[in-house]
Structure formats: C-alpha cells, structure tokens
C-alpha cells in the first residue's frame, strides 16, 4: 500500500469508535460503523492532510465513498489536479 492509502487508513482508524486492524482497499466504508458526522470529520482530516477540497454531501450516497480504495483513488485524482482545481466548487 502506498503513502496516500496508508495515511487515509490511519485517518479512518483515528475516527472509528473501535479501530480495526484489518482495513484494506476493498473494505467498504459501511462496514466501518462510521456515522455521518464522523465522515464529515474524516473528509475534513483528509482535506487538511493532503491540501485538497473534496466535494462531499452527507445526504448523498456517492461512489467515491463506497470503499477505502475508492476514497484513495479520488484523493489521488484531486492531488493530481492541484489545490486550485480540486475545489469543491466543481
């Protein structure tokens, strides 16, 4: 697992009530018992750590937030497009 994935899993673990050791890229976020406010805090932490903005609305089920791997892919994509282009305004 690369640096981005390791960091994201570290952030997920930090916000879990019962952190698990078996999280990998295929783990579904719904299996992590993360509630809506926790997810807002996780997104905030990820944005802070990588200097990006992630367009995320707690009211919507988004493909990008299905599994740990899909979050990692989306974050990498946003990092590649640079801090300006990564704005949640998109």
């Amino acid at each position: 697992m690369d640096e981005v994935a390791t960091k994201i899993i570290e952030i997920l673990r930090k916000h879990m009530k019962e952190p698990r050791d078996d999280i990998d890229l295929s783990t579904a976020l719904t299996d992590l018992k993360i509630e809506s406010l926790d997810l807002a805090m996780i997104v905030f932490d990820i944005e802070d750590s990588f200097g990006i903005e992630i367009p995320y609305n707690a009211n919507e089920e988004v493909e990008d937030f299905k599994t740990v791997g899909s979050v990692v892919d989306r974050v990498k994509q946003l990092i590649a497009s640079g801090p300006q282009a990564a704005g949640a305004k998109a």
Binding site: F44, P55, N57, N59, G87
Partner: protein, 411 residues
C-alpha cells in the same frame, strides 16, 4: 386526561407575527404559502467569496429604520430586528395595552439558536483582521442570546419571566411550550413566545458547509432527490393568553393550544432516533386528549436531509398507525427554508392559519416518491380541507424534540 382539560386553565393565541424570506408579516407570509412560493435563492446579502453553497432563504429588503418601530431595537442586531418586528405585529394584533397593565403576570420568552451571529463576525473581523482598537460598544449586547427577549420585554413592559430558550431547531417550539405551561399553571396570564434567527453570514455558512448537510441547489423535503437542507432566517412569534383573560377583554381568539410534548433522544448529536420524536408526538397528543385520527394536518420538521425525513416518517407511522397514510403532512420549509431556531415559530403560524382558513400548505419542490418516505406530503399544491386540529413537529440537532398541537378557537 379529558377531566383535566375541563379543570385546567386553557391557553389561546391572540396574536401572531412573522418575518420570513417569503413575507415580512403574517398576511404576506401566508399568501406566499398559499401560492406555494419558494423563498430560496442565490445569496445576495453578503459576498460569497469561496463558499460552494450559494443558496439560502434570505430576508430581503428588510430595513430596520422602516420595519422596526422601536429606536432601541433598531440599535440591536439583525436577529433582534426580526424579533422586534414580529413581536410588534403579534402584540398589535392581540390588542393588549402597552405597557401591559399587570406586568408581573406576563412573560416574554423569545429564543434563538445562535444569537447575534453577524455581530460576532463583524467584531472578530475588526479585531483580528482589521486591527481595530476596540469593538463597537454595543457588540456584547447585540450578541447575547437573550437580547431579543430583553428588547421585546422592554417594549411592552413585561416584567414576569423573560429569557431565551436555546435548543437549535426546536428553540421556538420550546419557548411556546414553556409559556403555555406558565399560563396553564397560573404563573402568568399572557406571554410573548417564539424565536428569531439570523445566521446567514460567511463564517456561519462555512461552519454549515463543513458539516456537509446543506443542499447546493434547493430544499426538497421528503422527495427522493432531497440532498440537504437550506438555511434561512427570520422570526415567528405568538402572543399566548389565558382563555378567560382573552374573553374578558373581548380579544379575537385565533386558535387554542391544546398540547405540548418534549423529549430528548440522549443518543447522538446528528443521527436522530425514532423513539424521541415518537414520544414527543405522543405526549402532545395525550396532553390534547386527542385521538391521532383527529389531527387533520401535520406540519413536519421536514428538513430535506436524507436522515431526518425518513426518520420522521417512521416516527409518524408509529404514532398514527394506519391513519398515518391518510394524514396530510407537509414541510413548509420547502417554501420558507430552514429558519433553525425560529422554524417552530413560523410553522406554528402555518398550523394556525391552516385551521383558520381550512387550507393545508403544500410541500413544494416535490419531484419523486422515496420508498423511505411514503406518506401524503401534499406535494406541490396546497389543499382546501377542513382542519380541526394541527400538529407542529420540531426536531433539533442533539436529538431535542418538541411538538405542539393547535385547535380551533373555543366556541
């Protein structure tokens, strides 16, 4: 319970006042509701800067010099202006004298979820960015959450219980419920009750954005395409009065308040529980000595978040049973937006007007049926229908639930 109604003091509404994105007084507000007008639009009152949420239910064209009679309140902050204006409309309609003749027998409970938010923001910009020497001398008095209650109490010479409630989106409903109890229990004979909110500022929008619960394009309660709530501002205020007191002075009685219920989920700050809302609705019904089937209209909390609307629907089903599918339910937030603490105030007015005119307000912007929200939400077009009793739900962050039941003026 029925015997208790006969013996206890009954409480009626003799005045109503509203400041909303779809009307600066009750007649204008109600005409907009009847027409299904939506007050949500692009934010114009402050620069958007880097906000990615660009919409809100702003009160537009509000000029304190024109819309607020009291010079003292004109010096207050936006949330107190709204309360001053709404209280003036309600008090004038009630016909009560100013100052109130029996001042220690009156209450003024006007809540706010956040108090003087725009004043905080201006003051901190001055201190931290503009390097100003001092904040404006009235800053503190504008910020405090009891500001509106104090201002309005001063206006009408109210010397009994005067304070603010604070329970996020249930604030106004708690205020009305408390004054109801004070009058029932003989502590006072009249009371001003409701709430005011004015949190549409850049900084406040950023805090809501960070929670990721705002819709970028509109307020669609109970509809499958709902994608978050839309913040709004304004005030909703009632004048409550003991029935015999109102009769003696020949006041025009607008409605009776029959029941109040309140509960707390004690579970989670944002994820609502079904048990708390169910209990609050059931308490309000029991307090009214009404059967669920006697409620002809329910003004739902209906915030248009995915969580609230589905949970509220389930709670309604538990309380109303088979009758739930026949109950006319609407979220007027689809028109006036989410006035947060003040929401219960303007929604109480919707219930009273619904009873008075036999008209059930619609849920506008309703596009698509959601299997999780499968009741009658009076989609898009209001309905002429006799309303004997109406219930108003307010459910807040933190799981704070408050419910009122209104009925026709006593014969």
């Amino acid at each position: 319970m029925i015997a208790a109604v006969g013996t206890r003091r009954r409480v009626v509404v003799t005045g109503m006042g509203a400041v909303t994105p779809i009307g600066l007084d009750v007649p204008e507000f109600w005409a907009s509701i009847r027409a299904g007008k939506c007050g949500v639009g692009r934010i114009e009152n402050f620069p958007l800067d880097d906000l990615y949420i660009h919409i809100a239910g702003e009160v537009k064209g509000f000029d304190p010099a024109k819309h607020v009679k009291s010079k003292k309140i004109q010096y207050g902050e936006r949330y107190s202006w709204f309360a001053g204006r709404a209280a003036d409309e309600a008090w004038t309609q009630s016909g009560l004298p100013t100052p109130y003749a029996n001042p220690y027998r009156s209450a003024c409970i006007i809540g706010t979820g956040a108090g003087g938010y725009s004043t905080v923001e201006t003051a901190y910009r001055d201190l931290f960015i503009n390097n100003k020497r001092a904040t404006h001398p009235l800053t503190l008095l504008r910020i405090i959450g009891s500001s509106a209650a104090s201002h309005v109490g001063i206006e009408y010479g109210i010397k009994g219980p005067t304070f603010a409630t604070c329970s996020a989106c249930s604030t106004a409903t708690h205020a009305i419920g408390i004054v109801l109890d004070y009058i029932r229990n003989g502590l006072v004979d009249v009371g001003v009750a409701g709430a005011s909110e004015a949190v549409l500022t850049y900084g406040s929008m950023r805090t809501w954005q960070a929670m990721r619960v705002l819709s970028p394009d509109g307020c669609f309660p109970f509809s499958k395409n709902r994608n978050g709530t839309v913040l709004a501002e304004g005030s909703g205020i009632l004048v409550l009065e003991e029935l015999e007191h109102a009769k003696r002075r020949g006041a025009k009685i607008l409605a009776e308040i029959l029941g109040f219920g309140m509960s707390s989920d004690a579970k989670d700050m944002v994820n609502p529980d079904i048990e708390g809302p169910r209990t609050a609705m059931q308490m309000a019904l029991d307090d009214s000595s009404l059967d669920p089937s006697e409620i002809d209209y329910l003004n739902a909390h209906g915030t248009a978040t995915s969580l609230n609307d589905a949970n509220e629907t389930n709670a309604i089903k538990l309380v109303f049973g088979e009758y739930a599918s026949k109950l006319a339910i609407s979220s007027t937030k689809s028109m006036h937006g989410h006035l947060l603490g003040a929401g219960g105030g303007v929604e109480a007015i919707c219930c009273i007007k619904a009873i008075e005119e036999g008209f059930v307000p619609p849920t506008v912007n309703y596009a698509e049926r959601d299997p999780k929200c499968d009741l009658d939400y009076v989609p898009n077009v209001g309905r002429d229908k006799p309303v004997r009793y109406a219930m108003s739900n307010s459910f807040a962050f933190g799981g704070l639930n408050a419910v009122l039941v209104f009925g026709r003026p006593p014969a």
